[in-house]
């Protein structure tokens, strides 16, 4: 069993107990515990189930590399799945549950997948996709749905807050072990500005666990003294609980600070994302121990040797009473010695090497521990917990020579540097034969804006394996980074440790070497995703040669741990199966984040009302007070309609249409884009921007214009007014103002930069109101001021003057077909003007109307709407707008494209009106079908609905649509299949798209 030892634990405070629950069971740990240490202290080795086979899973590691021990944490607004117990600090009241099992952790039905393992081999999902569709629907999907998915999805909104920090530094040191501290010391002494981040809440890394002396001090004492020196430097910032998440272009890095994960609800932000710009980055990210591949290496109780040591030294926790150590290197002997010293039994150390002659092996023998060389584990015995191992010769096929009872196995397959952050931005790796690992190649570092390296590795992250090498490498890395960042030369010597004699490790990728298929099927590479040695070998046999393909085919390294434990072992197996050296196979790509970071941290403060800044017209407050139902239009919110008490939105819209057509309506049109285009070449420029001619527009007049992309597709429309000899005002759509402004700037700056034109976006300078309906003129005349008569201000003209007391520019333009004035006043006067119109308009039956009323009225008139009739594939010719395309102009944006063969194809779908035979409303986007099938076996589609409404004016459904040869088929009846499941078709007749007042008698008054 695993238990808390009577003494020991350098990180815990036994005077401060902390209570927590696991699956509802009350448990106790201490301040300084990780959740993993506390669980093991309470003999909770079994913590979850694997992804595919639902096999029992125990804690394997002691840090960020943990693949198994993921739990659902917290409740309600603080619930979060997949929290790694090895990196979760214990706090009072912590509540967590195990995941990925049903109905219970101890008894899981899904484990049946385990017995079906031979039916779920590598590539199972891909092979399943090839199965007949019915098998997929009725057999595979229900099974996969039941068994897939890690953890539960939170159901409540996150109650915590998150924030972003912006930080600039000369040197960023990622990792606060002795290497990171040594590098920081060098950089700090140079006077450079330094930021040091450490992902745990304690400094010194694993050196205090591994032992040795630094400058004659214990690693703990040296760490304390070094921290004191760093803290005394004004140029050095130290942060714990902050992980280096990613390294990006030009010295950009992200730090993920877990401010309050261990103090939930204390009103501090939970996480903080540091957005860092560094001149130089030192990655002192340490190394990760590799598992060994032997049969049953996934049974709870089989752990990494260094993790077993960590639990004993850091937290005073024994993972087992009898621990068998199995290794291919010297380091694991440290675990045996630590356990022995803690009074625990180590029945045997199995060393796969032919001999064990290093000082650590000698020390183990001297401590009375049995050491067996050339030996391996034939298989681990046990189900939910290790009960023993059968041992065999490493060289053979696995005939057991002895069974040894134990309740834990500490394994070590060697160490791999954490190269992730080095690799994120392009740092390359080289294979180190001596250590059998990939390590950073200092000659091929990530490069910055000047083509020079901006990342340097330090300590174990460089591949340094002894304390002495780690310190000298790290101090030099700090010096190098500081110098490159402009710090002054550092003369003071760095920390030193005595060199130690070690016996080289021996690469061992399968244990025993000649293991047969039965054994290889039980050798786990990826514990979380259930990928075994046999799966990778199968992938290789099936032709997967690229490591990236094998990864995706087998899912090796695709779990939430991203292959931190499985990567190198998997590569080695694949290389062996392909008969090539490991460096020829290469690694998969390392991508940020190093470990998962919260969505909250990524979003930062950008939540709720500040998620996206809202644009408000000067009349916005009035609309809200009036209870308008608002809809988003770009970043604006516009009234959709103004429902009265007891009225539905639909009823309100119909009332607004009828009232505007019969009496008087007001529309807040302030969101309409307004661009001033000015200069001697403004007319020439607008002739390029618009399909029709704008240079010959007379001062005082308005013209409707179309803008196309260079592809020829219709992009925006609006009314242009000529203000004076060299000034035009261009109206754009509400959503298009910023885009069109940028579009004009782009052409002026990058193509016609010698043309004398300025463009100013004055959209927000003006409030604009459409005064619409038969009583529109009466209202303006009542307010007094300028002459708005038909004679003085005819249709499609504009005038400056006064309306009442307001400075106004009045345009006689109409998007409704009614007598209509669009009136612009200074934005500061918008609300007062709106109020004045409403007050004076009361006797004329004035009512405000919203965007839906606007849409219906324009559809009744057959006016197109950008985004409804257009979708980026529609040219003006499709919409019958040829009258607005100049034939005189030599050139305009889109003209050349509109001459391409596909654009002039007579089979293009063209705009028509559609009227159902029974007066009902066609569904938006419905397709018209006609005879036969297309090449996909679908019914032949010959058109689609682009706008469709119930017209309160005409008391029937009206629609616009694009139909093949449509304008030549007036009167034809088309079929529109419904998609509501009723398998019916609606019938509609092709008609003129202008449904109302075709001759414009209502607007030209």
């Amino acid at each position: 069993m695993s238990t808390r030892l009577a003494k020991g634990g350098r990180l815990i405070d036994r005077t401060k107990p902390k209570n927590f629950t696991f699956n509802g069971k009350r448990m106790k740990g201490y301040e300084g515990d990780t959740l993993a240490a506390a669980l093991l202290g309470e003999d909770q080795m079994l913590v979850g189930r694997s992804f595919k086979y639902h096999r029992p899973r125990g804690i394997v590691a002691s840090g960020a590399e943990e693949p198994n021990a993921l739990v659902n944490m917290g409740q309600g607004g603080r619930f979060e799945p997949n929290q790694r117990v090895t990196t979760t600090e214990l706090f009072d009241g912590l509540a967590c549950t195990s995941q990925n099992h049903w109905p219970s952790l101890e008894f899981d039905v899904g484990v049946v997948n385990n017995y079906a393992a031979r039916f779920l081999p590598a590539g199972f999902y891909y092979k399943t996709f090839m199965a007949p569709a019915p098998a997929w629907k009725h057999v595979f999907e229900p099974i996969i749905r039941k068994s897939a998915g890690l953890g539960k999805v939170p159901t409540e909104a996150d109650v915590d807050r998150y924030e972003h920090f912006y930080h600039h530094t000369d040197v960023l040191v990622i990792g606060g072990g002795v290497a990171g501290l040594a590098a920081a010391l060098a950089a700090g002494r140079s006077g450079a500005k330094v930021l040091v981040m450490e992902q745990t809440h304690h400094w010194g890394g694993r050196a205090p666990v591994d032992g040795g002396e630094i400058d004659g001090q214990s690693p703990d004492d040296w760490t304390a003294a070094t921290l004191a020196e760093l803290e005394s430097m004004d140029n050095v910032t130290l942060r714990t609980r902050m992980m280096g998440s990613g390294v990006y272009d030009h010295g950009y890095a992200l730090g993920y600070e877990r401010v309050a994960d261990h103090t939930p609800g204390d009103d501090r932000p939970r996480h903080r994302l540091w957005r860092i710009r560094a001149q130089q980055i030192v990655t002192a990210t340490g190394s990760i121990e590799r598992p060994l591949s032997f049969a049953g290496n996934d049974i709870p109780g089989v752990m990494l040797a260094a993790a077993v040591r960590d639990y004993a030294v850091n937290w005073g926790v024994s993972v087992g009473d009898r621990t068998v150590v199995v290794t291919n290197n010297d380091d694991a002997y440290r675990t045996a010695l630590v356990l022995k010293e803690a009074g625990l039994e180590v029945p045997v150390i199995l060393d796969a090497r032919d001999q064990a002659t290093g000082p650590l092996a000698e020390a183990a023998r001297a401590a009375g521990i049995r050491v067996e060389v050339g030996k391996a584990i034939a298989k681990v015995n046990g189900g939910k917990r290790v009960t023993g191992v059968s041992i065999c010769s490493q060289a053979g096929e696995g005939s057991a020579v002895e069974d040894i009872a134990c309740d834990a196995v500490a394994m070590s397959g060697g160490w791999s540097p954490v190269v992730h952050l080095w690799s994120h931005c392009g740092g390359k790796l080289i294979w180190d034969d001596e250590q059998s690992h990939f390590r950073p190649d200092p000659d091929r570092a990530p490069t910055g804006h000047d083509g020079q390296s901006f990342v340097v590795t330090a300590g174990a992250a460089s591949g340094a394996m002894s304390l002495a090498d780690v310190l000298s490498d790290a101090y030099a890395a700090g010096q190098q980074a500081a110098k490159a960042a402009g710090g002054k030369a550092v003369r003071k010597a760095g920390p030193k440790a005595d060199p130690e004699a070690t016996q080289p490790m021996a690469p061992v990728w399968i244990m025993p070497q000649g293991a047969g298929h039965q054994k290889r099927m039980k050798m786990w590479l990826d514990y979380q995703n259930d990928v075994k040695v046999s799966d990778v070998q199968l992938a290789a046999r099936e032709g997967y040669e690229s490591v990236e393909h094998t990864k995706r085919y087998t899912t090796l390294g695709m779990a939430t741990d991203q292959g931190k434990l499985s990567n190198i072992n998997g590569l080695a197996i694949l290389s062996d199966a392909l008969g090539q050296p490991i460096p020829a196979t290469g690694t998969t790509t390392f991508r940020p984040p190093y470990t998962p970071i919260s969505f909250g941290a990524i979003a930062g403060e950008a939540r709720h009302e500040i998620f996206q800044p809202l644009r408000r017209t000067p009349m916005h407050g009035w609309h809200e007070d009036a209870g308008a139902y608002m809809e988003p239009v770009g970043h604006w919110r516009r009234p959709y309609c103004y429902a009265k008490p007891g009225e539905t939105n639909e009823q309100a819209v119909h009332r607004e249409v009828l009232n505007t057509r019969e009496k008087l309506g007001l529309l807040d049109a302030s969101t309409l884009g307004k661009l001033i285009v000015k200069g001697p070449d403004a007319g020439k420029f607008l002739d390029m921007m618009y399909t029709n001619m704008m240079s010959n527009l007379a001062v005082g007049k308005c013209r409707y214009g179309l803008m196309c992309s260079e592809n020829g597709f219709l992009s925006d429309d609006g009314v242009v007014a000529r203000i004076d000899e060299d000034t035009w005002l261009c109206h754009t759509t509400s959503g298009g103002a910023d885009r069109i402004y940028a579009w004009m700037e782009e052409w002026l700056q990058t193509e016609w930069w010698d043309w004398k034109v300025y463009v100013a976006n004055i959209t927000e300078q003006l409030a604009q109101v459409a005064v619409v309906g038969p009583n529109a003129r009466k209202l303006l005349e009542k307010l007094g001021g300028m002459d708005v008569s038909k004679e003085t201000l005819p249709f499609m003209q504009w005038k400056d003057g006064k309306i009442g007391a307001f400075d106004a520019r009045v345009y006689r333009i109409s998007f409704s077909g009614e007598l209509s004035y669009e009136i612009a006043v200074p934005a500061s006067q918008g609300r007062a003007f709106w109020d004045a119109l409403l007050e004076a308009g009361e006797e004329f039956g004035v009512m405000p109307y919203g965007t839906e009323c606007l849409h219906i009225m324009r559809a009744e008139k057959g006016f197109i709407m950008i985004g409804d009739e257009t979708d980026g594939t529609v040219i003006p010719q499709d919409l019958g707008l040829n009258w607005a395309i100049s034939k005189k102009k030599e050139d305009f944006l889109g003209k050349r494209a509109q001459l391409r063969s596909h654009m002039t194809d007579p089979d293009r779908w063209k705009l028509v009106g559609l009227e159902t035979l029974d007066g009902s409303v066609l569904p938006d986007g419905a397709y018209a079908v006609e005879g036969g099938e297309n090449q996909y076996g679908h019914r032949n589609m010959i058109g689609r609905v682009t706008s469709t409404y119930y017209s309160p004016t005409l008391k029937k459904g009206i629609a616009m649509g694009l139909v093949k040869h449509g304008p030549d088929r007036m009167g034809d009846v088309l079929s529109f299949p419904t998609v509501d499941g009723s398998n019916t078709e609606m019938k509609a007749r092709i008609v003129d798209p202008v449904f109302y007042d075709k001759d414009g008698e209502k607007q030209n008054v």
Partner: protein
């Protein structure tokens, strides 16, 4: 996240302050051009693994378009310069050649 110096206002701008505009120095083909030239102008873009001339706009700054000579592999920036030019300035060409003597010179947006 790249940093590019805006040649107009001199700001060292983060990529988030900029808007990328693709390949620089394209020649516009309008009415009268051949289908092939027009297709090249509209759709064909260089995507080199190495030296690239790009358009950028200092959109959250002075609003100006400019050009950058950049290495898509090493992320090295050889320089930024005015957008109001048909080809990279001599100094930029020299900066690239100094680093890559074997470099064959810019592809000037002609039919490729």
């Amino acid at each position: 996240m790249l940093i590019l110096e805006c040649p107009y206002c001199g700001v060292m701008a983060d990529e988030t302050d900029l808007h990328g505009g693709g390949e620089a120095h394209l020649k516009r083909y309008g009415p009268g051009s051949s289908d092939e030239d027009f297709q090249t102008y509209l759709f064909h873009r260089a995507n080199p693994k190495g030296v690239h001339f790009e358009r950028w706009r200092h959109v959250s700054g002075c609003g100006k378009w400019f050009h950058a000579a950049r290495n898509t592999m090493t992320l090295e920036v050889y320089g930024t310069y005015s957008a109001q030019t048909y080809e990279p300035p001599k100094a930029i060409i020299n900066a690239v050649k100094k680093k890559h003597p074997e470099w064959e010179g810019p592809n000037m947006g002609e039919a490729k």
